[in-house]
Amino acid sequence: MDMIANWLGNTPDFAVPFALAALGLILTERAGVLALGAEGLMLVGALAGIGAQLAYGTPGVSLLLAMAAASVVSLLFALMVIVLRINQVIAGLALVFFCQGLTGLLGTLLEWTNKPVRGLGAIELWPLSELPLIGKVFVQNPLVFLTPLIFLAVVWLLTRTTTGLRLRAVGENPQAADAAGISVLGYRLVAILAGSALIGLAGGYISVLSTKLWIADMTGGRGWIAVALVIFARWSPWKALAGALLFGCIEALIPQLAAAGIRLPQYFVLMTPYAVTLAVMIWVASGKQVSGSQPGALGVPFIREERR
């Protein structure tokens, strides 16, 4: 019973990075830019967050700096896909490898590796936190409670504002959007920067609030899982949140199993998130084809082809 309470209580902590990264990816991909760079941008956010935390020790500032750092690095991606119209798969992969190299290098040279930092204290949502069994779900750091609000804000932006409508138009049919006087490249740039900020926040969450230290390549494929999660959620933020909770449950279960003294081969247990991702991808692919949910112009560079 205690184990289940702990498990449920830890789930949000593991789910938040997936949720925020997936939300950032959805924001970018709804504008028609195939964003494979999440893994790299999460690492940038994680490293920047730890650096700021070591320097200033204020988690709020560190998380904002994590967002800013990921946005700045994503300018490189924007340059590649918006201005130079490079194949977006190549650009995304190059970004991941660039960020892995950069963060590995900086983390060692600046000696930020393995230095523990102080995270954020937990807040109790009082009447709910007294509930039996699920009470621990409501004792979390502030960002966990903020995450649903961020989701609400992004969903409102995408579906209830003119900006969101234009952003989706750019992703569905850039030629039509262009003819209607919408700046396709401008919207794509903003979508990349904003989405990357959210992905950076996810990375900062992992390093500053969750593990509270930096290790090279510490995201361990979570960015790729978020990419898979977006496909699984058919680019819908709420479904992505549900998927993130699923993966949070799985990741939270791993330490609980060990703590409960259940003897399982450790490395097989560590495989589960990846195996589940594969299984989910297969399940989605073999199900009924839901058409129309993928942004129409995803991954297609925009060029107006003006004639003289």
Partner: protein, 378 residues
């Protein structure tokens, strides 16, 4: 000179020059897609991009603490003109050539094989299993290890290609996830039943002398000729065989290829499986050639290198040989930087990424033309 004798174009230019100059920001530019660009222009644009990438890398190296005067020494003189290092480069090049060719193969079939590392790991596990369980007579041990590596690497590529063709599961995600599965399985073996009890590190027991690749020439391992032979086979497959011709059809346009009777699916499956097999051989070369046992990080850096080599070489196997050699130089230099200047090996990955970004960017200037729009009233 008589005005009438002047060429028309010159006249036009003179007239243009007499017009009042428009300020820079008020000019309008339009992007056009080029149909064709002469090969020498293409080559010089790519060369320029590489130079920019190398310049950026040099700047980063200097910023990280390598004296600027030592760069040329470290990367060129000490890697090529020093016999010991040259051997190290050749040695390093053999698995590099194989992963590069594996990348080329898969890309020719329009398949993003990011699972090279997982396939390498399985190749190495297969080879080590033969050694560990002492399967086969001593004389046949090495060929058996080679065969096991081929089979295991190939087997790890079966799932993603079938999933892509049958269910159109994105192969980028599936191959990457399979990498993590392979890695965790490797750790399971190395921290568990395959761990050498005499070592405190997570290594498998040392291979017997007859299970290690011998030296053919003084100091040059058999890995080098083996890699060259496999590379020649790949060259024949991609360049000369009927399959290679089919593959070019598939690469150009799978639908048309199918319509004219090319067995598209069978070609894709076979090519991707061969790609996995070559990555498996690369794993065999590293374990049986360099390390002499299974270790937990032997595969690191090869997955990206393979993709990078294939990309820089434009999927051309001959160019891949050259690029692989250059990458091997980069790796050897990176190791010596690690020793002498305490620069982490991630530097190598960063330099590789910068080179890819620069060359990919140069593609823009090859495929597009920026024209100034005359007037600007339109």
């Amino acid at each position: 000179m008589n005005d009438r004798l002047r060429p028309v174009m010159l006249e036009q230019a003179v007239q243009d020059a007499r017009k009042p100059r428009r300020p820079l920001l008020a000019r309008r530019y339009a992007l056009e897609i080029r149909q064709q660009l002469a090969w020498y222009w293409q080559a010089s644009i790519i060369g320029l991009a590489l130079l920019v990438g190398l310049g950026l890398s040099a700047a980063i190296l200097v910023a990280a603490g390598v004296p600027a005067g030592e760069l040329l020494n470290e990367f060129v003189v000490l890697t090529v003109f020093d016999l010991q290092s040259l051997k190290a480069v050749l040695f390093q090049a053999s698995p590099m050539i194989l992963v590069g060719l594996a990348g080329c193969m898969a890309f020719r079939a329009r398949f993003w094989n990011l699972g090279l590392e997982g396939q390498m790991i399985w190749g190495a596990i297969g080879a080590t299993a033969i050694s560990l369980f002492q399967i086969g007579p001593e004389a046949l041990r090495l060929p058996l290890m080679f065969g096991a590596a081929v089979v295991c690497g190939l087997a790890w590529a079966v799932a993603p290609v079938l999933l892509k063709l049958r269910l159109s599961v994105n192969e980028i995600i599936s191959t990457l996830m399979l990498n993590y599965l392979a890695l965790n399985f490797l750790l399971h073996l190395l921290y568990g039943s395959w761990k050498d009890p005499r070592s405190s590190f997570p290594y498998s027991p040392q291979f017997q002398p007859f299970e290690r690749l011998p030296d053919v020439l003084d100091g040059i391992s058999a890995a080098v000729p083996l890699a060259v032979v496999v590379a020649l086979l790949a060259l024949w497959f991609l360049g000369l065989s009927r399959a290679g011709l089919y593959l070019r059809f598939v690469d150009a346009n799978p639908r048309v290829a199918g319509a004219v009777g090319v067995p598209v699916r069978r070609m894709i499956v076979a090519t991707v499986l061969l790609s996995g097999a070559m990555a498996g051989i690369a794993g065999f070369l590293v374990t049986a050639g360099q390390e002499g046992r299974l270790t937990q990080s032997f595969y690191q850096g090869y997955g990206f290198s393979g993709i990078l080599i294939a990309f820089l070489a434009r999927n051309n196997p001959i160019a891949a040989l050259v690029v692989a050699l250059l990458m091997a130089m980069l790796f050897v230099a990176g190791r010596s930087l690690q020793v002498f200047y305490q620069i982490p090996f991630s530097m190598v990955q960063l330099i590789q990424a910068i080179l890819v970004i620069c060359v990919a960017s140069s593609d823009f200037f090859i495929r597009h033309r920026i024209r100034r729009v005359q007037g600007g009233e339109s």
